[in-house]
């Protein structure tokens, strides 16, 4: 196989000392970018892109893709420690990661998160190496109806996940859809619900909402409790890494399934965020102990992190083979390729073999470098929680404000963030779940768009969603997922009814 030969040659290029150094710089920068909520991989790469013009394309893309890996790793850190997702795809990680940190298991949660991220990315890179052309062809089958079907499945996996009142879940999700609809409507080209305000034109950015809903409201809750951090202090000890690793083989099947979901979502290309939610939803549905989720279960960290990384990595595949970015970060990298005189698309694998295989080799090495960097830092990250809470709270607030501002360089977003913080606090107090709101806000826009595009294509015929086995199959799976809780609820209700009647 001459491809393997090329890959080895790629390793040779990536292992040159100066490229190794760039790799390390990239990973460290990426972790920092991932930690700061709002800055994000896309922004980070966009800022650093011009610096790389003087480098040869291979070195440049090695460094930039290592920033990407670093950011993927880094996103988990603040989610687990402070309940603030640094990146959209780490939202699902907060559900169990933060409770784990509160129970004094921050080190375990971080190790599990980093390791499963690595596994997810590794599976995806192996897939890119061996089946890239086949998989790229599969992505072409996704038109608007198929895309909507995938989104529908993401929602379906998630519904019934939240505990408590279904009406409250529904209300929270509808609020998310409402907020997602504000701003430009791609299908008609009209502004919606902006009420003539210039600030509303942007719509509600998902990250601003999340920083407020999760981060700020958490601080408000802590202030109410008298400025004490509820969690127990984690011990600073590298042994925690090894101890967690000893536990991980138990979850091999979970990781494999999550990686599969991630790869699939990355190629479609739906992206890392829905992948993490879907994987979390499925993990909970399949678990023997679904009620333990959300209370600090390590499975609840492994599932979304594996899927997010698998998706984030495989999202590079449609970018390279079709020229369609699978994520905002990939979109910026795509611009970079064009500037280096490389035309992404089907011809890249034919004409620029050295570049492509150099990049793939750097994916392997960058991930290993990333894992080493973050694992060594685990005890230090966990030690942040030892700092007195009033100091940490002030720091978090500052970082949140910077993050909210950076999303689109708008002061108004800081105000919005604070408003979302208060909304989040009130919702927590009234027991409304936040996750459905977040899911609807992040996916609502694309879902609506795909739905309306499909109906345009079919001229208003709803059966378009079942027009072939692919979208029909995914839709059927989604409907089954959606009805599952309803069916099991109906069954228990009926059985309970019978028993009640008999008892009477």
């Amino acid at each position: 196989m001459d491809d393997i030969g090329l890959l080895m040659q790629g390793f040779g290029v990536a292992l040159q000392p100066d490229n190794m150094l760039l790799m390390l710089i990239g990973v460290v920068l990426g972790v920092l970018i991932g930690v700061l909520p709002g800055l994000g991989g896309a922004n980070g790469i966009a800022i650093l892109l011009p610096l790389t013009f003087a480098m040869p394309p291979v070195s440049a893309v090695i460094m930039l893709s290592c920033i990407y890996w670093g950011a993927l790793f880094g996103g988990a850190i603040t989610s687990i420690l402070f309940n603030i997702p640094g990146e959209p795809w780490s939202v699902a990680t907060t559900f169990d990661g933060y409770p784990m940190a509160q129970q004094g298991k921050a080190g375990e949660a971080l190790t599990a998160a980093f390791t499963s991220s690595f596994i997810g990315a590794f599976v995806a890179v192996v897939m890119i190496t061996f089946v890239a052309p086949v998989v790229a062809g599969f992505a072409l089958r996704f038109g608007p109806p198929e895309f909507f079907a995938v989104m529908f499945l993401s929602f379906a996996c998630f519904v019934g996940m939240a505990k408590g009142s279904p009406a409250k879940t529904l209300a929270s999700m509808m609020l998310g859809f409402l907020l997602a609809a504000v701003g430009m409507d791609t299908v008609t080209g009209q502004l919606r619900m902006t009420f003539g305000s210039e600030e509303m034109i942007r719509g509600f950015d998902f990250l601003v909402a999340v920083i407020g809903l999760f981060g700020i409201s958490e601080i408000l809750c802590s202030i109410e409790d008298g400025l004490r951090f509820k969690g127990q202090r984690a011990k600073i000890d590298l042994k925690v890494v090894l101890k967690t690793w000893a536990e991980l083989p138990k979850h091999t099947f979970l990781a494999a399934r999550s990686a599969l979901i991630g790869c699939w979502m990355g190629i479609t290309p739906a992206g890392a965020t829905p992948a993490s939610f879907m994987s979390y939803g499925v993990a909970r549905r399949m678990s023997k102990d679904p009620d333990g989720f959300g209370k600090g279960k390590v499975e609840g960290v492994i599932a979304p992190e594996t899927a997010a990384h698998a998706a984030g990595t495989s999202a590079l595949l449609p970018m390279l083979t079709l020229g369609v970015p699978g994520s905002p970060t990939a979109a910026v990298l795509l611009g970079g390729l064009i500037m280096w005189g490389l035309q992404p698309g089907p011809m890249l694998f034919v004409e620029q073999k050295e570049f492509v295989w150099g990049l793939i080799a750097s994916m392997y090495l960058g991930n290993i470098a990333g894992l080493l960097v973050v694992l060594v830092a685990v005890p230090w990250f966990a030690a942040i929680l030892r700092v007195p809470f009033p100091i940490i709270a002030a720091l978090i607030l500052t970082v949140c404000a910077i993050g909210a501002y950076t999303v689109s360089n708008a002061e108004f977003d800081i105000v919005l963030m604070l408003i979302f913080g208060i909304v989040g606090y009130i919702m927590k107090k009234l027991d409304y779940p936040l996750a459905p709101l977040v899911l609807a806000l992040v996916l609502g826009d694309r879902t609506e768009e795909a739905f309306r595009q499909s109906l345009l294509v079919s001229q208003g015929d709803v059966t378009v969603f079942f027009h072939n086995w692919l979208s029909g199959g995914i839709m059927a799976l989604g409907i089954a997922m959606l009805l599952w809780p309803l069916l099991s609820w109906a069954r228990t209700a009926l059985l309970g009814g019978f028993r009640g009647a008999r008892a009477a």
Binding site: A42, A46, L49, P50, F53, A54, A139, L140, R141, F142, G143, P144, G183, M184, D185, T186, V187, T188, G189, Q190, L191, T194, E198, I201, R202, G203, P318, L322, G323, V324, P325, P328, A331, V332, L334, G335, I338, M339, G341, Q343, P344, G345, P346, M347, L348, S408, N409, E449, Q453, L456, V457, Q459
Partner: protein
């Protein structure tokens, strides 16, 4: 700045304008803090790529002492970026790159903005549009495609709604009477892949958005919406170069459309400040990196400044208004 220094820089600036020598103009006024380069579109699109190439060229060749910082303000089909530039009246440290949404966004959404709220600096290039179909479709010429579209309703995909792609679609309908279902997507790359996957029947992608699929044998260009053929004669496939693609007019489809890639400043800036950026952009266009980009994207390399540019802008605005009026895209039809 002291009044004396101020007067001297003004004099030098005037002198430079008279001589039309960019080198002198630079001595007249220079940015004294980082220059914000606003992109009224998302990351990864055509305008964003061009802005980042300009930023890269400026820093690579040290054309300016202060750094240039690219900022994306994509909200409301670019309205966010335009309103920001409108509000920055008199700020000489802000540039904005525009695409057709300079005209279409205010017309379609009614956002209170017009190109006259900005100071035109320089037209960098014009972006071409090409009619693409799948390579395995039966249509080999524009006439065959139009004939098929009259027989059955075909689907054209494009970027955004009531923006350039849909305007071209409406113009085709007006010229031929064939009606289409227009399906809006988010970005040009996505549109091209939807065509390759066979989910739509045709697109009017820019050359750079679809070239790779043409070369891989998945797509076929039918005609280009310009009055002359594209200048690039290098072979892109085994048998064809960009210059072999006929114009739509040659094919009997009388539709012409080019998209502006221009640089603007906020209103109320001084002439020597405009002259500085005119000179800067002229030097950017002279570099090899820029010429490579022009060739890669098969751009129309027309550039203009000053009054010629203003006249062109006024004419284009009227043209967009009438095209959009006929298609019923105006927010305030009056």
């Amino acid at each position: 700045m002291t009044p004396v220094a101020h007067r001297r820089s003004l004099l030098l600036g005037l002198g430079a304008a008279a001589l039309a020598a960019p080198a002198l103009a630079q001595r007249g006024w220079e940015p004294n803090r980082p220059v914000q380069f606003v992109v009224p579109a998302g990351t990864g699109g055509g305008a964003d790529q061009m802005a980042r190439v300009i930023q890269g060229i400026v820093s690579k060749h040290s054309l300016m002492r202060q750094p240039m910082v690219v900022v994306n303000k994509a909200g409301g089909a670019g309205a966010e970026g335009f309103l920001e530039a409108k509000g920055a009246r008199g700020n000489p440290h802000m540039l904005i790159i525009t695409l057709s949404n300079l005209f279409t966004t205010p017309l379609a959404t009614g956002v209170p903005f017009n190109w006259k709220d900005l100071t035109p600096v320089s037209m960098m290039a014009l972006d071409e549009f090409v009619l693409w179909v799948k390579a395995d479709s039966p249509w080999k010429t524009a006439q065959e495609f139009i004939a098929a579209a009259k027989a059955q309703r075909l689907k054209i995909g494009g970027t955004g709604s009531k923006q350039e792609d849909q305007i071209i679609t409406a113009a085709i309908t007006k010229a031929t009477g064939a009606t289409f279902t227009y399906v809006p997507f988010r970005g040009g790359g996505e549109v091209a892949v939807q065509l390759v996957g066979g989910h739509i029947d045709a697109t009017v992608n820019n050359p750079i958005e679809a070239v790779t699929h043409w070369r891989s044998g998945a797509l076929r260009p039918l005609c280009v919406f310009d009055d002359t053929r594209l200048p690039v004669t290098e072979k892109m496939t085994d048998s064809m170069a960009w210059s072999d693609v006929p114009t739509c007019k040659e094919q009997g489809l009388d539709v012409e459309y080019l998209m502006l890639r221009g640089i603007f400043m906020p209103a109320g800036v001084r002439p020597e400040q405009v002259a500085f950026y005119e000179g800067l952009m002229a030097r950017v266009r002279e570099t090899e990196d820029w010429k490579d980009l022009m060739k890669q994207g098969a751009f129309n390399t027309t550039s203009m400044t000053g009054d010629a540019f203003r006249t062109w802008l006024g004419r284009e605005e009227e043209r967009h208004r009438s095209l959009m009026q006929e298609a019923g895209f105006l927010a305030n039809p009056s």
